[in-house]
C-alpha cells in the first residue's frame, strides 16, 4: 500500500498523466462520509459537497451510537441531513411503562454551507451546524477548510459545542460576552433552532487528511485529530477517550456504495456504509433506449393523406396512437393541422410534443405548413403549441432546435371538443388497473424504533367520461410488526393525525386507502377547477373543490380549495367517526424559471381547525427529481402543538423512468415529518390542480426543449 502511495506521488509529479487517467487510477473519487453521517473525515467534518441533486443515505455503528442519516444536496453549496441516532447508554424514557427498555433515540437536523470554492491556491471553506434544530445532544457549529494537494485531501477547522475538544477561549467573546457561555436546550418541546447557543462556549480545533490510494479501486485511508469533546456529547457515562487521533478506511464497492471502517478514541471500532445517488442529472441511473419508432413509407402516406382530410385525420390517429400519443381531436384549417392529444408515457412535455410534431411531419399532407398541438390532461387544454413545419427539417443540430424554438408560439387554449372536425370516439367507461407492493412504516416511536407492514395494493382509475374519473386504492396486509405498537396520543388538539397507531393496527388486514371521484374542467383559458367527493385520503373523507388561476406565460399561480371532511373510522372501511370540519386554503405558487425552485404558500384553516400558513420550498432537477422541505405556522402555541414545537418536514420524488430504459410517467419518493402531530395537518387529496396543470406553463416545455428531437 505504501509502495503504491509513493508510486502515485511520482506519477503525479511527472505531470505526464492526464486528469482522465486519474479517474481510472483513483476511481469513484466522490467525497466520502464521516461517522457522523455527513461528508467528512472520520469524526470530523470537511468542506466537501456532492453535486446538486444528490441524495444519500449513511449508516454507522460506533459505541455508544448507531446512526442513520438521509442527506440531500439541493445545491452544490448546501448539504442538509436528517438523522436518527440510537444512544445505547440511555433509555428512551425513565418511565418503563411508556417505553420499556428501548434505548434513547435522538433526531437531529444538520446543514453545511460552502462559503468559498476551492481554487488552485485556496481551500474550500464551509460553515456547518450539527443538531441545529433538535434536542441539541450533539449540537456543534464549525468552520472548516479543505484543500487537495496531489491525492491527499487536507481538512482543518474550528469547532464549538461538541466540537470544542481543546476548550480554547472563544475569540467571539471579544465581540460579545454572551459568547462565553453556551446555553443548553432552547425549547422545551425541541424541534427549534437553538440560535442563542450558536458559536458560543469554548472553541476547539480539528483536522486531518483523506489519502486517495492509487490503483486500489478508489480506496482511501483517513487520519485525523479528533475535534469531539466526548464529555459534551450524548449522555453519561461519557465514552472514554484514550487517543485524540483516529484512523479510518473507505472502500468504494461501486461509485455509489461505500464501506468504511475505523478506530476512534483509541479504543472503539466503527463500521458503516453509505449509498449516494446522483439523481439530479438527466437519466441519472440508466440511459434511455426508447427511440421513436420510424414510420415506414412515409412519402407514400403523405401522398394518400393529401387526397382527403379524413384520411389525414385517420393516419394521425393511427400513427400517434401506435406510439402511445392518443389523438383526441383534429382539424385542418387551410394549411394548418391542429390536433389535441393526451398521453401518459413521457414526463418531458417537450419530448411528447416533439414526437407528435415529428410524426405529423412524416404523414401530414404536403400542403400543411404548420402544426398546432394541444396537450390535454383530464380533458383540459393546457397549452397550444404552433410549430412551423419547415423548421422540423433540421433538428439534429442545437442551432436547428434553437431556430425551431424561436419560431414556435405558445398560447393558452380553452379546449372545446365540438370545435374540432374530427373527434374519434372513445370506449368509456375505461379502467386502468395496477397491483403493487407497498410498505407502511412508523419510525421512532416510544414502543420501538421501527414498525411496518408489507401490503399488496390494488390501484384502479376508471374514466366515466373525459372529465370524470374515480380513483380507487385498496390493499391487503401480508405481514406486519404492529403487535408491540401502542397508541399514546398526548395531543390536546382534535386527533386528526395522532391516532396513526389505531389507523395502522385496525387496517392491517384490509384497507380502502382512497375512493375519490373527480371532476375537472377549465372555466376560461387559464382558470381551472376540480371537484372531488369520497374517501379522499386514509383518515378523512368528504367533498369539496379547488380552483386555480395559472397564466401560461407566467411563473405564478393563485388558487383556492375548500373541503368539508369527516374523519374516517380507524379500520379505513366505509364508516366515519364523529369529528368533522371545514378546511380550506388560499394557495399561492411562484416558480423561479432558472433555478426551478418552487415556492408554495397555503394560508387558511387546517384539519384540526387551527389557522395559519404552510410554506413549501422545493427544487426540480434536470432528471425531474424534486427535493423539498416545508414548515407551517399556525395560531396554536408550541405547547399546544406538543413535541417538535411546529410542523415541518422534507420530501423527495424521483421519476420512476430514471430506473428503467423506457420512458414512463410516475414518481416514487420518500417524505418524512420528524413527528406526527395534529397541528397544521393538511388534507391529502389526490390530483391537486397545480400538478394536473403542470404543462400550463410554457417554461415547463421550454426547459426541456433539447428533448424535442429525442
Amino acid at each position: 500500500m505504501l509502495k503504491n502511495f509513493f508510486a502515485s506521488i511520482v506519477l503525479l509529479l511527472s505531470n505526464n498523466l492526464s486528469s482522465s487517467a486519474l479517474d481510472y487510477i483513483y476511481p469513484y473519487n466522490y467525497a466520502s462520509f464521516s461517522n457522523y453521517g455527513t461528508l467528512g473525515l472520520i469524526q470530523n467534518p470537511n468542506a466537501r459537497f456532492h453535486p446538486e441533486g444528490t441524495l444519500a443515505f449513511s449508516w454507522n455503528k460506533q459505541d455508544p451510537y448507531l446512526r442513520g442519516s438521509i442527506l440531500a444536496y439541493p445545491f452544490d453549496w448546501l448539504e442538509a441531513s436528517y438523522q436518527y441516532a440510537d444512544v445505547n447508554n440511555k433509555l428512551y424514557s425513565d418511565v418503563a411503562a411508556f417505553s420499556g427498555s428501548q434505548s434513547y433515540k435522538d433526531k437531529s437536523f444538520d446543514f453545511k454551507i460552502r462559503l468559498f470554492r476551492e481554487s488552485q491556491y485556496f481551500p474550500a471553506i464551509a460553515l456547518g451546524f450539527r443538531d441545529a434544530a433538535g434536542t441539541s445532544v450533539f449540537a456543534a457549529e464549525y468552520i472548516v477548510a479543505s484543500k487537495f494537494y496531489k491525492n491527499i485531501d487536507f481538512s482543518a477547522g474550528l469547532g464549538w459545542g461538541t466540537l470544542s475538544n481543546k476548550n480554547l477561549r472563544n475569540p467571539l467573546s471579544e465581540l460579545d460576552i454572551s459568547f462565553d457561555e453556551r446555553s443548553l436546550v432552547a425549547g422545551s418541546q425541541g424541534g427549534e433552532f437553538t440560535f442563542g447557543s450558536f458559536f458560543s462556549g469554548p472553541m476547539g480545533v480539528f483536522g486531518g487528511m483523506e489519502i486517495y490510494l492509487p490503483y486500489s479501486h478508489g480506496s482511501r485511508i483517513k487520519f485525523e485529530y479528533d475535534g469531539t469533546d466526548y464529555n459534551k456529547e450524548g449522555f453519561q457515562p461519557f465514552p472514554k477517550q484514550d487517543s485524540k487521533f483516529n484512523i479510518g478506511a473507505v472502500y468504494p464497492v461501486t461509485e455509489n456504495f461505500h464501506l468504511r471502517l475505523g478506530l476512534i478514541r483509541g479504543n472503539t471500532f466503527n463500521i458503516g456504509f453509505s449509498y449516494t445517488g446522483f439523481y439530479g442529472k438527466e437519466n441519472p441511473v440508466l440511459p434511455k433506449k426508447d427511440p421513436m419508432t420510424p414510420i415506414q413509407n412515409s412519402s407514400v402516406i403523405r401522398k394518400i393523406t393529401s387526397r382527403d382530410k379524413t384520411l389525414a385525420y385517420k393516419a394521425a390517429l393511427k400513427y400517434l396512437n401506435e406510439r402511445k400519443l392518443y389523438l383526441q381531436a383534429a382539424n385542418i384549417n387551410d394549411s394548418n393541422l391542429e390536433i389535441a392529444y393526451s398521453q401518459s408515457k413521457f414526463e418531458s412535455y417537450a419530448r411528447a410534443t416533439g414526437r407528435v410534431a415529428r410524426i405529423l411531419n412524416q404523414i401530414a399532407p404536403e400542403y400543411i405548413d404548420s402544426f398546432s398541438i394541444t396537450n390535454l390532461n383530464a380533458d383540459i387544454g393546457l397549452n397550444k403549441i404552433n410549430i412551423p413545419r419547415d423548421k422540423l427539417l433540421n433538428l439534429d443540430s442545437a442551432s436547428g432546435l434553437q431556430s425551431l424554438l424561436e419560431s414556435t408560439q405558445f398560447s393558452e387554449i380553452k379546449f372545446v371538443r365540438e370545435n374540432y372536425e374530427f373527434t374519434p370516439a372513445s370506449k368509456l367507461p375505461k379502467t386502468i388497473f395496477k397491483l403493487s407492493p407497498v410498505l407502511r412504516s412508523q419510525i421512532g416511536g416510544p414502543d420501538g424504533f421501527y414498525f411496518g407492514d408489507l401490503r399488496l395494493q390494488a390501484s384502479a382509475e376508471t374514466l366515466f367520461s373525459k372529465k370524470i374519473s374515480l380513483i380507487a386504492q385498496s390493499s391487503i396486509g401480508i405481514i406486519d410488526t404492529f403487535d408491540e405498537m401502542n397508541p399514546n396520543p398526548d395531543s390536546i388538539l382534535p386527533h386528526v393525525r395522532t391516532d396513526i397507531v389505531q389507523y395502522l393496527k385496525e387496517s392491517r388486514t384490509f384497507q380502502i386507502k382512497r375512493l375519490q371521484l373527480n371532476y375537472f374542467t377549465s372555466l376560461t383559458k387559464n382558470i381551472y377547477a376540480k371537484g372531488a367527493i369520497g374517501y379522499l385520503e386514509e383518515m378523512f373523507g368528504g367533498l369539496g373543490g379547488e380552483i386555480l388561476y395559472r397564466p401560461l406565460d407566467k411563473n405564478y399561480g393563485i388558487g383556492a380549495e375548500l373541503f368539508h371532511v369527516k374523519q374516517r373510522e380507524y379500520d379505513q372501511l366505509f364508516s366515519f367517526r364523529d369529528y368533522e370540519t371545514v378546511t380550506g386554503f388560499i394557495n399561492l405558487y411562484y416558480e423561479m424559471p432558472i433555478s426551478q425552485i418552487l415556492l408554495q404558500v397555503k394560508g387558511g384553516r387546517f384539519l384540526a381547525k387551527d389557522s395559519g400558513f404552510n410554506f413549501d420550498f422545493s427544487r426540480r432537477f434536470k432528471s425531474g427529481m424534486r427535493v423539498g422541505a416545508f414548515v407551517s405556522v399556525t395560531d396554536i402555541s408550541r405547547a399546544e402543538f406538543g413535541e417538535g414545537s411546529f410542523d415541518k418536514g422534507f420530501y423527495f420524488w424521483i421519476p420512476i423512468e430514471s430506473f428503467f430504459t423506457k420512458f414512463s410517467r410516475g414518481y416514487t419518493g420518500f417524505g418524512l415529518r420528524p413527528i406526527t402531530r395534529d397541528g397544521a395537518a393538511v388534507l391529502v387529496h389526490t390530483y391537486n390542480l397545480w400538478g394536473v396543470t403542470d404543462q400550463a406553463n410554457s417554461n415547463h416545455i421550454i426547459r426541456d426543449w433539447s428533448n424535442f428531437n429525442d
Binding site: I25, R440, Q442
Partner: protein, 213 residues
Amino acid sequence: MIKMKRLIIILIFLQSSCSSLANNFVSTDALLTIKNYISGYPDLIISYDDFMKRDSSFAVIKFGRGPSSIVSLAYIKNNIYEWRSNDGIKIFTKEGAIIKTVGLKHDMELNPSCLDQILAVELLEKQSCKLSFYNPDLEKAHASVQLVKKEDRSISRLGKNIFIKENIVRLNVPSIKWSKENSFYISDGQVISSIQHVHPRLPKMHIEYYFVY
C-alpha cells in the same frame, strides 16, 4: 453494477414514513428486478431451431449476471463487423474481438490492427495498441495485447457439443494498471464465442456469434 443500484434504490423507496402519509408507488417491475438481482438474469440459450429461423447473422451479449440482449449484424466493412441492438447500441468487432462500442454507459475504442496477427496468426509476441475509454474519458492510452494461452476444449452450442480452441489474450493498459484476460473460442478458424473485458467500469461481457450465410 446497474442491478445493484436498482436494488438499493428500490429498497429505499419501498420505505415510506407513515408519519408523513407519503404516497409511494412501486411497480411490479421492482419485484422482478429484485428477483433477478438475487438469482441473476437467466442466460438466453439459442437452440438449433431458433438459429434456423433467423435469416441474418446475430450475436447474444450479456454483461456479468445482467440480462442477455440480441444484436444483429448490420454491416461488414474492411473485415469489421458492426452489430446493432434495437435500442441503439453498436458493437464493432474484428476477428471476434470487440474493437469499439457505442451507446453503452462506458464505451471503448481499440486500434484494431494490433489484434490482427494475434487472433488470425496466433502470434505470441506482445503487440502495442492505442486504446480509448469513455466516461470518464481516457483517450489513446498505450495498451498491449498478448496471446498468453491456447488450449482445446469442448463446449455446448446449438444443442450439441463441439470441439473448439480457446485462445486467451491479455489486454494491458499500464498507465491505469488495468490488465485483463479475454477468452476467444474458435471453431473452424472463426471466433464463435468470447468473454471480453471492454471497460474497467463494466463487468465482463460474454458474446456469442451466430453467423447465417
